[in-house]
């Protein structure tokens, strides 16, 4: 059984704002019967068309989909459209006291419905995931190349979710978007997209901080290993594990293809130089036998 928080349970058993708004200013619809969850979001604005005065929803889906929809409508009331657009799927999950990771796609669905509703109201191009024309796919109109054929999800949408939520594994991407969750045929492509996003974010100039507390330093070392180094090793079928950090000494063990590889010494120097570039100049990387 899912370990739902008391807030999730409350919003599922006593959902707020179920229904429709006859003279809604904005309506956003995502998901489909086939996919197993769908949400139709209605927004009503004040006289000056600035603030959201009412929000209602209709949801087909599991307990956390209903709770996420209910939470979203509560969060929207009283906000301006710009403020509303700043709500992320993580904010929805946080409002509920957290969601099981396998259920994060429910919060993503809420955020997407909101985006569609606001874009439609503003007459902007529909971003993505409007399901009005096709109930067979979750996000049919999203531009870009179709990656997950089972759930109809494109690379553009996936990259956005990977980036916003800082996802690093294909499994996480499935939990957040459902992509790859049925036949699994697109999982290699999802891994490519993760590598692309990580590569792109790594390409942005990052400045080595002047001063670092020990705690911050350890945190940054872990971050660089996770985001910049391990994906590179994965690409060659290798991996590494962080064993210990003692001051500036970083001990790592190489795994999989890297373990016992003749050039693991070079890999260790690469790790060291990356850490020196991004964290602190005095870092020394030591390889611990696997």
């Amino acid at each position: 059984m899912w370990d739902y928080t008391p807030i999730v349970k409350d919003h599922f058993l006593n959902p707020r704002n179920v229904g429709d708004i006859a003279d809604a200013d904005a309506i956003g619809e995502v998901g489909s019967l086939a996919c197993g969850d769908a949400l139709k979001l209605y927004l009503k604005l004040d006289e000056n068309k600035e603030k959201i005065v009412d929000a209602k929803f209709q949801t087909f889906g599991c307990a956390s989909a209903i709770a996420s929809s209910s939470a979203l409508t509560e969060m929207l009331k009283g906000k301006t459209l710009d403020e509303a657009m700043a709500i992320s799927n993580q904010d929805i999950a946080d409002f509920l006291g957290g969601l099981p990771e396998e259920k994060m796609h429910c919060s993503v669905m809420g955020q997407e419905a909101l985006e569609v509703a606001v874009a439609k109201y503003r007459g902007e191009p529909i971003p993505a995931h409007d399901s009005e024309h096709d109930h067979g796919h979750a996000y049919p109109d999203y531009e870009g190349e179709l990656v997950c054929k089972c759930f109809g999800i494109t690379d553009t949408f996936l990259k956005k979710v990977i980036e916003t939520n800082k996802l690093t594994t294909a499994e996480q991407v499935t939990h957040f978007t459902k992509a790859g969750g049925a036949c699994g045929g697109c999982i290699p492509k999802i891994k490519d997209l993760i590598a692309q996003v990580l590569g792109e974010s790594a390409a942005q100039p990052r400045v080595r901080p002047e001063k670092l507390s020990n705690m911050k330093k350890m945190q940054m070392i872990q971050e660089v290993l996770e985001r910049d180094i391990r994906p590179l090793l994965w690409a060659d079928g290798g991996d590494l594990e962080l064993i210990d950090i003692d001051g500036s000494k970083v001990q790592v063990a190489f795994r999989k293809a890297c373990a016992g590889c003749v050039s693991s010494g070079n890999t260790a120097r690469m790790v060291e130089s990356k850490l020196r570039d991004l964290v602190a100049e005095d870092i020394v990387v030591e390889e611990v036998p696997a």
């Binding site: 619809e29 197993g36 087909f60 599991c62 989909a65 396998e102 089972c150 499935t174």
Partner: protein, 391 residues
Amino acid sequence: MKEIYLDNNATTKTDEAVFEEMRPYFCELYGNPSSMHFFGGQVQKKVDEARNRVAALLGASPEEIIFTACGTESDNAAIRSALAVFPDRRHVITSRVEHPAVLTQCRNLVQKGYRVTEIGVDGDGRLDMVEYKAAVDDDTAIVSLMWANNETGVIFPIEEAAAIAKAKGALFHTDAVQAIGKIPINMANSSVDMLSLSGHKLHAPKGIGVLYLRRGTPFRPFLVGGHQEKSRRAGTENTAAIIALGKACELAALHMELENTQVLAMRDRLQAALMQAIPYARINGGTAERLPNTTSIAFEFVEGEAILMLLSEHGICASSGSACTSGSLEPSHVLRAMGVPFTCAHGSIRFSLSRYTTDAEIDTVIREMPPIISRLRQMSPFGREFLNTKP
């Protein structure tokens, strides 16, 4: 809150008499049956008795009973053994609706170069016998087909299928985990070579299973390293659970008629009342021959996990073919193989009764279920236009 337990295909209550039977074998009679002293020897006698009791339920001989840790182990052992004893045969046949304990193993064999045929089913879950007959060939090492489906209760014509396999020299295994104790099964005049059963589906505890192995069937053990079970399954016997299973099998034989009268009547009453009260619903496998205790009903426009959570608020325990309950994202492979549309599969609920189910409990479900479906349909963007119409 007192539970109304209608999820007996997931697991069952350990019968009190079964528990009493096993109780002394933890703290008092804890001897190892292999030991050369009276203390182990008295446990050996009880294990023998249990073996006789299991054999009696199956119409088998005691030496054809191998105790294992679970149904999954029995399934794995059967299929692996067949491939090991027939190294020249490279074809495996199963069905699209098997339990993952069989299906996952078969699919893994594809990577090892085996040809694997998954036989399809019709809209009510019946095995496609034409496809099956055409598939069995001289290269087939083993056929593994379930006796009854865990999700729908649909029963396969196992004896007929086993005879076809036998004619081609292939071994025949059946996962009978859901069927044992619910419908009569007799290995005495059967073409089945191997059969799996699981204790916790018939009111014995979890952690005990059986592989029935017909006398004379070539076999390679899955676990090696001990002489137990005539070296066919190494490892110290789970004596208390074996003794419990023996008692459970004895009780199952006694209660078989009750399963097919009283339990069947309650199941039929439940599904008829729900179908009558709730529009846009269908019984999965409704026209096929089914186990007496199982019904799977698809409710359109609503999602299974939400139904289960609301049922749970009333103490009612059932299960769903929905994607969301399992953590996977695709609805039940069984319902998909039957061609049940996604729109129905997501809202499918399975009720599985037992001899402990009461008429009062069925009344509660009949009372609570329609408002739950109606409440979720009110909330759904899809069901609303149908609410006041009849299909």
